[in-house]
Symmetry: C2
Amino acid sequence: MSELVMRAEKLDAADELRGKRDGFVLDEVVYLDGNSLGALPAVVPGRVEDVVRRQWGELRIRSWEESGWWTAPERIGDRIAPLVGAAPGQIVVGDSTSVNVFKALVGAVRLAGDDRDEILVDATTFPTDGYIAESAARMTGRTLRPVTPAEVPGALSGRTAAVLLNHVDYRSGRLHDLPSLTAAVREAGALAVWDLCHSAGALPVGLDEHGVDLAVGCTYKYLNGGPGSPAYLYVRRELQDRFDSPLPGWNSHTEPFGMRPAYEPASGALRGRVGTPDILSMLALEAALEVWDGVPVEGVRAKSLALTDFFLDCVAEYVPEGRVECLTPVAHAERGSQIALRCDDAGEVMKRLIERGVVGDFRAPDVLRFGFTPLYVGFADVERAARVLAETLSLA
Amino acid sequence: MSELVMRAEKLDAADELRGKRDGFVLDEVVYLDGNSLGALPAVVPGRVEDVVRRQWGELRIRSWEESGWWTAPERIGDRIAPLVGAAPGQIVVGDSTSVNVFKALVGAVRLAGDDRDEILVDATTFPTDGYIAESAARMTGRTLRPVTPAEVPGALSGRTAAVLLNHVDYRSGRLHDLPSLTAAVREAGALAVWDLCHSAGALPVGLDEHGVDLAVGCTYKYLNGGPGSPAYLYVRRELQDRFDSPLPGWNSHTEPFGMRPAYEPASGALRGRVGTPDILSMLALEAALEVWDGVPVEGVRAKSLALTDFFLDCVAEYVPEGRVECLTPVAHAERGSQIALRCDDAGEVMKRLIERGVVGDFRAPDVLRFGFTPLYVGFADVERAARVLAETLSLA
């Protein structure tokens, strides 16, 4: 037995989150694509069946009240809150990440005031954030300026209204310094808007602690909410009364069933709601979040780093030097919960990896991306993934 | 046996859609709230279970391609198309109705050009349309002018950019004249945007035939898609190349997986997409739409009118004169698929009706609303509803 296999055994034996794997539906595949779509939590199918057959099928319209459908967006927001370091009452679930980026960024610009005419956006961001930021800038009469996160401090000025940043780069897996960037943005009198898609559920975020103004995130990656499960919007409590949504649908009205012709926004997080929430997807997410009961985010982060450290060790041991290039920073402070490896034939390599039961994903033109979900990925999985990767690379 | 009971029996016996009722999960309740939340189609629970357990649970990320998740918004749009008189390739499913109203109205204003500075909105509309229209006007620098549908022809001018109208008034059940209003709007050089929430699945719409420019609708009423199932957006084919969405998310990019920094909109209906679609709700809707196989919309309309006619006859026979006032027009050309009755103690009356197994809904301050879903409501249901209503009113 190789030294790495033995190390994997020891690490698995000492893993305090090991039991959480039983909370998921898994098979013999090594699933390292939880940063695209989380695995199915075992509690979800039964819950969804109840929502469909009993809540919709039998109670029908009564479920809006009796089954708690109407208040689901705030209730589920409060369930996500501790995972991102937010006190209750600041997160609401609903709509897609893209739609929430629009709400957050337009809201931020309006909070910043009319004399600030520039929006900074992470130039390395997941594209949708950039596209939506362009629209938000156009529709609020601001200028959009793409900069790298490292350039943000130098780019801030009295003109800056808001800065949209990604906590973890979706491609490289680089973790950005949320505390210091947020402090710099706020110091300049601008609003800090963070996209947490690739960090929530994988590492501590500390929204309240670090004074983040607004944030958005998806729930189908490390939060395992299911394909296209609703995203969320965080608006810091002190800003909520002045938050002015560009999508003031009836669900955010202070008296939604008053059916009044004039819009009067509700107080609190639910001001971020828009239209009727998609209950099936939302209640599947609510069930999925139960796997987090009793799980400290710090423990998740520790295991995530141990997993990615171990993967890098295995790759160094198994893969011939120079065959791949690691794009993810080695420093823990700069690493999310994924490892991105560059190689010329990445598309073909990933196809073969998947055929051999190691599922990561390919990002054009040349990136192999492996996500490590601490709740259900173990160290033996990691060793196997690296070994199969090395075999695949030597055959390719 | 009363004459009305006998008439109900005859009408049910002659009802060509009668067999469709078996396609739904129903019980002894008379469910007249399908215009809020359609009943559960029998095919849905099994389909959702497959989506959750096999597509998500076993195939996981592969389902985006192998289970047709990625193309669901356009595919399901094409399934809705014949129900609203649209040729394929013009409807995309996703997001809430409110979000789609925003896309449609901002898109319409941009299509109308810079010299048209006024938006007309149905003053009697469901409130969210008015709130969102206000935001669309504010964000495009236009003036919003609420008018009743009857006032629209007189209010149109060279200033009018777009007109947002409801096909059926959610409160009174009044059906507006889509063909002639659309013609008037287009004659004035403006764009006609219709909200079909209370008409699609209950009566013919004829989007293509009547030259409607853009339209939106929900799918959880007469289309039985489930609580908060995704809404849809129609953009007339000739306008698609110039449609300029205010929510240009990555799902509407011409090459979404190219992850390019610059936005380039896709062609066709999918330009109306935004972010990742909520697959659970969307595929439940897709299953729900199967009940429409072989159902002609004209037959649905004929039965809908027969149901509401019969309900009015039963109410006239059973309910003491003057106890309620019908707000829904008697003329077929002006009637949707619901009957709204005004009475002072409507809230209390509806509560008692529901206790006695007749489910409609209450709209503040004084409206009893009864929706008639031709696919699963029968004439005996109608007679019973009116009889229980009369008994309840005489006790109240």
